[in-house]
């Protein structure tokens, strides 16, 4: 596994990017109600696993040392000191069952999620968090959906829709009826937030059948994606790519299969080709009849 990249120009990211993803997670899974809690808990545990994997928390540490290093990481990033850390089994294994609510600024009280401080970061965009927090959230979100396989992409897409809505509602991305303009503004937001040094977008075909996105020094693609693929995770969870998919789906009714091709080039350049499926019927009545004739 490559060493985690930490030495690019952007060491931190606009906290609103993290908050938007957390809101997306809660809204995207909201339809499950209480039944969705095991998924949120799994996401939390996988987030903690990411911190261990990249060395932010030493796996062999004593419980108190783990608590301390987590407190240091989170308080230095503007989160509350009271982290929902628990230890299970023997030897004690750390677990953060209420991690999503902690990060999202809500606490579970008598089964209800009380809103606490989530809106803190939305106004001016001055709040920044270390990139490892964002990496951790994306990794945990993706791994938390491991058990449902590739179809988890539908939930990931819903989460991205919720994330995009949050950024629009909070004035961080100005929407447009023209998808090209909307895509540009969304890309500009992520660039300014510190997602990558440069993002280049290109469509192939007419009408478009592929979206090619090139990222320069994107920590998601350098640090998170290889770890997800190593773990056998089938989902694609790059926030700007998913937001692009959301915009295209809503404006043109198209569907996207992400990460059909990925090329990692020198100098921190990553080229991704996402396949676009047109809106409308992919298997018409005529095609069904013809296929039926061909089936034995």
């Amino acid at each position: 596994m490559p060493k985690r990249i930490v030495d690019t120009e952007h060491k931190s990211i606009d906290r609103v990017a993290v908050d938007a993803l957390l809101v997306g997670i809660r809204n995207g899974l909201g339809y499950l109600g209480k039944e969705g809690e095991p998924i949120l808990e799994k996401m939390g545990d996988r987030m903690l696993e990411y911190l261990t994997m990249v060395g932010e928390v030493k796996s062999h540490s004593k419980p108190e040392e783990i608590r301390q290093s987590l407190q240091e990481l989170f308080t230095s990033n503007g989160y509350p000191k009271e982290i929902p850390l628990k230890f299970k089994g023997s030897p004690p294994t750390p677990s953060m069952p209420d991690f999503i609510n902690y990060l999202g600024g809500t606490r579970k009280e008598d089964g209800d999620h009380k809103k606490d401080y989530l809106t803190q970061s939305k106004a001016d965009g001055k709040a920044q968090v270390d990139w490892v927090i964002y990496e951790m959230v994306i990794y945990g979100m993706s791994r938390g959906l491991d058990s449902i396989g590739a179809q988890g992409q539908i939930l990931t897409n819903r989460i991205a829709g919720g994330m995009l809505d949050y950024l629009v509602e909070n004035g961080r991305i100005e929407p447009s009826d023209d998808p090209e303009v909307f895509l540009q503004r969304m890309g500009d937001f992520f660039l300014k937030a510190g997602f990558a040094d440069k993002i280049v977008k290109e469509f192939e075909g007419s009408p478009p059948n592929a979206l090619v996105l090139t990222y320069y020094h994107s920590r998601y693609h350098m640090n998170v994606l290889p770890r997800l693929r190593d773990a056998g995770n089938l989902l694609y969870s790059c926030p700007p790519c998913l937001a692009a998919g959301s915009i295209l789906r809503r404006s043109r009714g198209t569907r996207i299969v992400y990460d059909v091709e990925i090329r990692v080039l020198p100098e921190g350049e990553v080229v991704l080709r996402h396949k676009i499926y047109p809106g409308g019927e992919s298997f018409s009545e005529e095609q069904a009849q013809e296929t039926s004739r061909l089936m034995k």
């Binding site: 039944e35 590739a150 569907r255 992919s282 089936m295």
Partner: protein
């Protein structure tokens, strides 16, 4: 009541039942094992159409759950490798079109011996890159063929908060609609 018992209750008197199983994401893994146990216990060997998890991953998890992998052949359209056949699996390539899938199913059922049931896992995966109407049409075609071939089967769906219209449509041409709870 677990899913296996629920299926048993609804279709035990039907000779070649067609089941629609709709489960929450939380109970999905367990539900897949339950439905597979029911069909392999009752009908023996079968075809597992996997669109959602690579066949190699499934074989491992079935083995772990005590389900004999040798009872199954796979039609795999999720593993990202070029199209080819092995003794236990036909790899179609990742996320193939519905026409290719239909023909793949037909080829497997007619050319491989010992396929006594067919499971499709999952309808939800098809909704990533197809519209609901086309997915329903594809499932209807597969269901018609299963009836013609005299084979029982099951369509597995995961409740994603969307695509419920598709589930309602599929329920109309299945013998039983089993809704698994977490």
């Amino acid at each position: 009541m677990n899913i296996r018992n629920e299926i048993q209750e609804q279709v035990s008197l039907i000779e070649t039942p067609l089941v629609l199983l709709s489960v929450s994401p939380v109970s999905y893994q367990e539900a897949v094992l339950d439905v597979l146990r029911y069909f392999s216990d009752r009908f023996g060997s079968g075809l597992y159409i996997t669109l959602n998890r690579p066949s190699a991953t499934l074989q491992g998890s079935f083995e772990k759950a005590g389900i004999r992998g040798s009872n199954l052949v796979f039609l795999d359209s999720i593993t990202n490798i070029p199209e080819h056949d092995t003794e236990s699996c036909c790899f179609l390539g990742r996320m193939r079109e519905l026409t290719d899938l239909s023909l793949g199913v037909s080829k497997m059922v007619t050319e491989r011996k010992g396929i006594n049931f067919v499971l499709l896992d999952s309808v939800s995966t098809l909704l990533i890159y197809n519209d609901p109407k086309s997915v329903a049409r594809f499932c209807h075609l597969v269901a018609e063929r299963l009836r013609k071939w005299g084979l029982p089967g099951a369509f597995i769906c995961v409740e994603m908060g969307e695509g419920m219209d598709t589930i309602a449509q599929l329920a109309q041409f299945c013998d039983a609609y089993v809704k698994g709870v977490g």
